[in-house]
Subunit: 130 residues, 2 copies
């Protein structure tokens, strides 16, 4: 177990790939959703809103697991397990816009739900690779 | 909420795509792993072994969530939420071989861990789409 990303898999976190984010629901079942993300070398940040199921899930159980798979080679993947460390308000949608641009929309505008936008900051505790 | 797969997303379950399977760990955190699967129109089947973490997770908490994303268009995805319904022994690895062939290896052989191989059968209770 390590929190270091293997150097040969760092591209999976640097490329604008969708991640599969697992959270634990209020009834102790599990959900997995596709998510934009940004990795800064230590933490992973997601854009989300404070009105959705996943946000409520994380208020009760902060556990998060992010799986990123290479769309060109499904045998290349990395799973980051950890927990919600912080929720940062993003009322102008600035982080959403930054992620939108990262994911290829040069003209990304703030979303209609900007007033509810938050940044979910994930601490990484375990890295699993293939 | 429905258990019907939208007809325009059925291809995601029919094509040999890797799914992202979420399970709840013994410490109530979450893990997400890439998995081969086969969907028969009602249930989803996975090959696994009885010696691994995911198997122990499911013995305690049978909740499962399978996210399948189109590698050519990440905005097309379907999430199947449900639970482990049955574990079927596969001591010759026959189901593993069938899945291997489904995923493109015409000469798939049984794996070395065939004696421990099981088929995880998932009941689908909720289908979420984009």
């Amino acid at each position: 177990m390590s929190t270091t990303i293997p150097s040969d898999l760092v591209d999976l976190l640097e490329r604008p790939l969708f991640g599969s984010l697992g959270t634990v629901r209020l009834d102790d079942t599990v959900q997995v959703n596709p998510m934009w993300f940004e990795w800064d070398g230590e933490q992973v940040q997601f854009t989300h809103t404070s009105t959705r199921v996943k946000y409520r899930n994380l208020q009760r159980n902060p556990a998060m697991s992010l799986l990123v798979t290479d769309p060109d080679d499904a045998m290349r993947y990395v799973e980051l397990r950890g927990a919600l460390a912080e929720v940062v308000s993003d009322p102008t949608g600035a982080f959403y816009v930054r992620l939108g641009k990262r994911y290829g929309n040069a003209d990304q505008q703030p979303p209609p739900d900007s007033p509810d936008r938050v940044i979910l900051v994930m601490d990484v505790r375990t890295v699993t690779r293939h």
